[in-house]
Symmetry: C2
Subunit: 262 residues, 2 copies
């Protein structure tokens, strides 16, 4: 069993990639829909929430887990690894590796939630992996509600104008590679691409799913290809929006749990 | 002591009005910044959160309280009144009264979060107060993150375009009066006004503050004009954004509490 979790729905973009790469694995997905968004919360709160989720994952006997959340990966991963003894993948390290391999001019942009950018986690990982790379981070907090409220058409003038403002410093910096450091952002990749047409986008969900497939024990890849979702708020709200993220009708069972008990 | 609470910062617009009307009263404000936003959560969750807040308000010995949150006022007020024995004002009833008094053509629009509009609470209150009035509700979920991320200039093309899409059905309906059913919305009243220039806007925070001043015991109005704020997440984040809502530098003490203990 492989566990993927996120503060809400965004991690479904990583789940989609993971199921493509590991079609026979059994997955559980937890979306903390009762406490989303994490991006504007303090580090203490984020660590506490993520710790509860790992306790739930342990109870579900997962063999490997993916924190498909830029915020958790940026501020809570070391703390989680101190008590959890299964492979735990975040989005930061694998994404930074892919970006460092992709850049030609050594200039990489990073976009994410406020907490992700404030943490500087992607920039620090890039400096470790490739000390000569220069990186610039820009918080794009409005991208998350734009996606969740359906402003996702590539030619939506609202999303294009918000992208133009947020991404102007990335363009001025001359980045040739851009890390989408939040799992919501691939949904509006086309709008981002129109704003920065010559830049290579690195999808953190896809890179993390690849790293997960390498870290997961072999036996966990040979299941029945099942999927069960768990959420901390109303399952029906989750189903309604999940199809946006999965790019297809969402039919998996969805169970509500009381995450505050963990 | 008078208590005002909200899911986050929006209630500060009601606090501002309340302090203008009751300059000598002592106020406490609670913003549930660790669990904001309420608007997309299930009714059970909203009732549970609001119940914890009223337990905190009781511990602080408030003489009267205002739920300055369209979502709580719409779905949780009756439940709160079943156990709390101080005057508890919501935004729905006083706002509906003011709108019913203001309309000339009997057509009223209501805008709010998804949960507020889904609840139909403003429309039901209007039907009770003035059975001949016709009302139309439209959810405007993106207005809240637009305000919190500073897209608040009256000529901001992003906010104007979002307003144009959300408010088109209100215009087509022929409303002459529009209830701003979320305490965030007065911050972008100018953008809303430009989109619907001939419509009278009803500010739910102001109407609720007036109702609070009538319901509060006389002795609670004769204090020192003090203010203390409580939040459930990082106080510094709160201070940074609070000045947007208060329209002035925010200097009151801010304490973090663990609202989940109540």
């Amino acid at each position: 069993m492989i566990g993927i979790f996120d503060s809400g729905l965004g991690g479904l973009t990583a789940l989609r990639e993971a199921r493509r790469i590991m079609p026979n694995a059994d997955f559980i997905y937890f979306g903390d829909t009762g406490r989303v968004p994490y991006g504007s919360r303090s580090n203490d709160t984020i660590v506490r929430y993520a710790t509860q989720i790992m306790h739930f994952m342990a109870e579900m006997r997962v063999d490997a887990a993916l924190a498909a959340c830029g915020t958790v990966s940026s501020v809570a991963l070391e703390s989680l690894r101190s008590f959890c003894h299964i492979p735990l993948i975040g989005v930061v390290e694998p994404t930074a590796k892919a970006a460092a391999a992709a850049t030609k001019n050594g200039r990489i942009g990073v976009i994410g939630t406020g907490a992700t950018i404030k943490s500087g986690a992607f920039e620090r990982a890039l400096a470790r992996i490739s000390p000569d790379v220069k990186a610039i981070g820009e918080a794009c907090p409005l991208f998350v509600p734009l996606v969740e409220n359906g402003f996702i058409q590539a030619d939506d003038v609202v999303t294009l104008e918000v992208a133009r403002r947020y991404l102007a410093p990335i363009g001025a910096f001359g980045a040739d590679t851009l890390i989408l450091g939040c799992t919501h952002f691939p949904i509006i990749a086309e709008s981002i691409k129109r704003t920065l047409p010559d830049v290579t986008l690195i999808n953190s969900g896809r890179e993390a799913a690849l790293a997960l497939s390498e870290a997961a024990p072999a036996h966990s890849l040979e299941g029945h290809g099942s999927l069960t979702c768990y959420v901390s708020d109303n399952p029906e709200n989750f189903r309604d929006v999940a199809s946006i993220f999965l790019g297809e009708r969402f039919d998996a069972p969805i169970c509500k749990i009381d995450i505050e008990r963990y």
